[in-house]
Symmetry: D3
């Protein structure tokens, strides 16, 4: 019996079942053990896939269709519950394989800490990497309650690994005083509160460079993404986030990986958060994967 | 016993019970059989009426009160479940009567296909009709999964009936490549992504013409109208939709009918979608019905 | 790169990735096009899998663990939206393959009409088949609004195919007068309103026979399964449904296939319906698959 | 133009539009101004009607169909917001008319105080009236926070009007010490905690008498009716409430009016509460209106 | 045993337990008896406190941390249910004490009528007081349904007490014709529909004056604050409300008291409304309390 | 200024503000860091208090009123987020003080692990202690994913501390095979699946003994308590849980402490779970505290 069914609902819409021929690889990281306020993002990847069945294949913003792009959905990684260190190892190993195969990793979170092992692997391959980070929070803590592996720390780790001047942050509107001082003084390209304008100013200088894009869905205002653990008033609209993605797509940077994290469906019975997230994934696939 | 109770909750607030004296006639079209993603708009008209009890009678935008305007709420049409063709006939027949009586039809959907028989009837009476269409989707498919009577097709049918150059579309941000090409090449006045600016540019040329206004609630961003079947990131705010309605009201066009469709309450436990929709209906009544 | 990830969240918990070695095959049927009241069961299979991650592996009722049982989760079948006839063909073809391979089909619905092609295939293989049907509704209509392929008709079709005396119905509490008369006069073993007692009386006579078990989640009371399209007051508790499953498991009948249908998650923000359903699937796997 | 549309969604399913020919008259009382904890029952009547469209016409419990029974749905009475005294007058006047026309009033609440004017009118016509009251609460307060017109007082008023020995209470499980003492010592037929057994014992003595049945939906357990203002653990199941209704229907009492109150939809996004309530109304129509 | 636990969840985050040393005093006013449409704001104060545990202590907008500011959370005042007049007396007495102790009252509503006794007390102490009022509604009625103590009347009362020219209103977009005329003709600094621009224009003239700030959460668009009784399309974003607060903080006015009212959690299962409100309280504490 | 306000909403209803005179002390333990499936119980204690304002003061089951009983609500303990060991120390220290003062500790969870330090302290004071444990889960793991401080382990620890024969478990229906074997073979009084009958059989032998009662709200069926992390089909009704509490109250055992844990409000927008829990607390206060 032929078993390789085309699944509907369990993979991101229009995923190819041919890994070898795919340019990008979607994978879920169902981890939320280190969050401080409202957990639940472990169910984010599955619901983003579920919501993707409502998407059109064609993007009128980019005049391109996902049926003309081969990407593979590897499902959710099997992470050992409660063991953050081991989970990060599993993510790292998976992404290492994807990169070794010359493909673009497309991560679905899960809490933001999942981006840390991915950034490490991408940086190994691309030593001149820059990171574009869209978030309500700095994620620049050295540790959280004594724990360095926390959803509050991934960008700090990245800054220490890659050098702060290779980190570009947008839309940030929450953090501790220490985080904020670090953001302002360390050399990070730090653009709090706003997204569109500073992004347009920074992009030209990044043309041609390898770039990793990481989006925490809470960069959006609570009105547009209530389904996340730590939603923050004062965020941007879905229109602005689409504009940011399209600006990157048209900028001449070389996106070598990206993720979207912190969708926590239980807080949003309207389902708008995974629906919005699935459209952002479509636009990033079409805009970033050539 | 006197039976003509004034009902609260079951009719749009401040409806007259005198059909003859009414200038406009509200009617519900509880049909959602042809939708592809998330059904439920059959319950939209009832919930819009329910929400209307929270409205003030007076519009400060237009300095006019609904108590100074006579309109009749005819309730929901009785449509045979699952039979789209027959349902459209019933709608057509009803609207024909309303128009014959010299009144303005005010439709509550229901899926967007319900606008198709209405447009046909209005066009028969007003051969120089123009349509102002506010939506996230083109609704320009020739057919959907082989079925020409689909919620994806009503504007295509209208374009073929009336000529594409009499169709004005605003806020569109989703469609198939074929739809999009048709929208751009057929002669439709096609204004994707934006509403306020292009509307202001188009309105002067329409002054004096009979116009039918059809609003799919999903022209709003998911944040403002989660209670709809196919919500699309990148939409407008409620403020922008109010501005559009007021721009039409002040433009000198002759609105001869209008509708608001695709409110699907089950996806919105906050009830904001029918609440917002009921205010839009009030503003359209006050702005469009002289 | 090794690709056969163990997925969490996308398959029923503890599914094997070895089809050949599996005794049972789980498959989703995301179809809800023919329902009359509240659609949404197309999202049922995915949410049952999602909820399964909260299950213990061990059943204390049956003293058996799902880690000691090999079953494969084939994901959701890819059904053409809106085309019921073609969808049923695809289901039939899939189940035919499962049966040909000597495995037990375990279906997740989707509306109840999906059971019809399965029953046909199972009956072809087991001509002395009996059906145990748990439901709030007779599902015995000849047609619904003129359409014989409706969620109201599958058991009527089965009765006509296999003979009414091979159908056993339990917990039924809603139907048209015609359905009810047919149920009572056709020779069906018809047990309205109650489940536990009549089941215990019927089971001994079925010992040794091949049996197909089909559970509509709405056999449960609205309190226990609000997440379904047409919930009916007067239903049984989850305790009673577990007792029914265990009674069958211990009865000596030969369960050759089973399904659980009509989970529609949108109506249940508490998620209790898919959580309850996932436990029922675990108990049926452990009780029915030897 | 013919205007008497058959409405779907705005009236209880299968209502006749011929008042004169109807045996019973459904009317809504959208009042909740005197409640102490969680208001919202003013939206109950509309949602019960909305939910009724999911009902089968036929009751297999009673072997009778609502299409064989003529009843009129008069919609919601227009009650002046916040003015309890005037609202009760309007209810009284309406019910007086219904009774004068020889019809059975079928009330949908609204808070329980709405039953008080109805009981007064029914008692005027039937001086040997008995009341069957199903509720979690005694509703026997003399006043609440100094206010005699409160949702906590209607049965006390009825007891004082008609004599306590004509009041039969079932399922009560909450009240003040004073209420409880009154219930036990005044001569009321007081059956706390339980419904089915005491009802069966009381019914024979009531055979032939005119009876008014008033059901507060909170007699059900929170699990079965979360959509009500003051839900109380320890309630009955929907099965038990159906049994109670059927016991009355078969008892030989003469039901001369009935109501179902306190459905407050906002607390129940699953919609199970109005769905359950609409079935109870169907069974009472079929069981009580000959 | 030492009892003065630091409570988490029951007080606003980082509240001091030293009343004497505190500059500001938070207090809840759980009253919603006079609202007309959707009650529930009595639960607002508790949920704002609950949501506050998710806040960062540091405001990057104002470069100040709540750990550097001493404020006391006095809990909710014990108001006699249903007795508006007595409740207002209790509020007045409490606020009088806070003011006498030289502290800034920070009120959490509850319906907007609770601001009325507060304004009276603050005005007694500061006869040159100005009020900055942010709201969707004028709240300028003389009475509502004959009742002068209504959630529709507090600003009218304030205008009559203090003189209309000391009232500044922003964002208003709903009211009766009478209210609107009064707003425009009485001398109130009336700025309908908009907030940011007119506020910036008015603030310079207020420099040095004592100011009371009262925010009805429904000044926000329904998308940003669905959890309120009477939400109105056409509102501002959370970003704009933050900007308004920051503009006041930087303006040189002397804020001598403030409140935030009308959070009604039941209408918002996403919890975004209390989460947004808690951030606004943090920003007002940091911006207004020197 | 007098500060000891009587708070409404922030303490359990009718709490005394006189610690010294109180017989029992309510305290919240807002901890949920070790749970495996759906976290959120940290918000349980606050919502149980909030729901308590809807309770009657009088229990008709026990003919006693909470106004006749002095108990103090100490609020939520301030637990260091993510640090389970330290949190348990804080709980232990608090309970030690309560016991030293001769009062009965009444704990509100939080995850079930919070009961472990309480049991240790109570056992120190009462070496002949017995535990009555009501739960869906055995909570008998030696460790969970290598971590001995887990919500799956508290009763195992208690059994090892006090001897299994002093543990009485009721209603258990989920656990690992190892747990189950331990439960059956260790000497625990283990009563899976059922509550009322085995409890009645065990109670006489416990008369006069000091007893600690710990209720995990998930002993209830999902229908009655959806707002909990790991809900399990096959549970008891609220009526049965009330009966169990009343049976203990009337049995002659000496309840020296009790708790109710695992209320996780986010999963239950109907709020029925905290409402039910608050009634159980009232009944335990009235039944257990003499």
């Amino acid at each position: 019996m032929r078993l390789n069914q085309a699944y509907s609902g369990n993979v991101f819409i229009c995923s190819s079942d041919d890994y070898e021929a795919s340019r990008a690889v979607i994978y879920g990281m169902p981890m939320d053990y280190t969050v401080s306020f409202r957990p639940g993002s472990r169910f984010g990847p599955g619901r983003i896939r579920e919501a993707s069945v409502g998407l059109e294949e064609y993007s009128p913003y980019l005049d391109r269709s996902i049926v003309d792009l081969a990407y593979f959905d590897a499902g959710d990684l099997l992470l050992p519950f409660g063991n953050a260190a081991k989970s990060l190892d599993i993510i790292a190993e998976f992404v290492r394989g994807v990169l070794a195969d010359g493909k673009i990793p497309v991560g679905l979170g899960g809490e933001h800490l999942v981006s840390w092992p991915v950034i490490q692997e991408v940086y190994k391959k691309y030593p001149d990497l820059a990171i574009l980070h869209f978030d309500a929070h700095t994620d620049l803590r050295e540790e959280y309650e004594g724990e360095p592996l926390s959803h509050s720390t991934p960008l700090r780790k990245a800054a220490e690994l890659m050098g702060p001047s290779n980190i570009y942050q947008f839309g940030i509107r929450s953090g501790s005083k220490e985080d904020w001082t670090y953001a302002q003084q360390s050399g990070i390209h730090f653009h709090p509160f706003e997204v569109a304008e500073p992004l347009k100013q920074e992009l030209p200088s990044l043309a041609g460079r390898p770039v990793y894009v990481t989006i925490d869905i809470d960069v959006l205002d609570p009105s547009a993404a209530p389904g996340t653990g730590t939603t923050e008033a004062g965020g941007i609209t879905t229109k602005e986030l689409l504009e940011a993605i399209h600006a990157i797509a048209r900028s001449g940077v070389n996106v070598v990986g990206f993720d979207l994290v912190e969708v926590a469906p239980i807080y949003d019975p309207t389902e708008m958060t995974p629906i919005v997230a699935s459209k952002m994934i479509r636009e990033m696939l079409l805009g970033f994967v050539k």
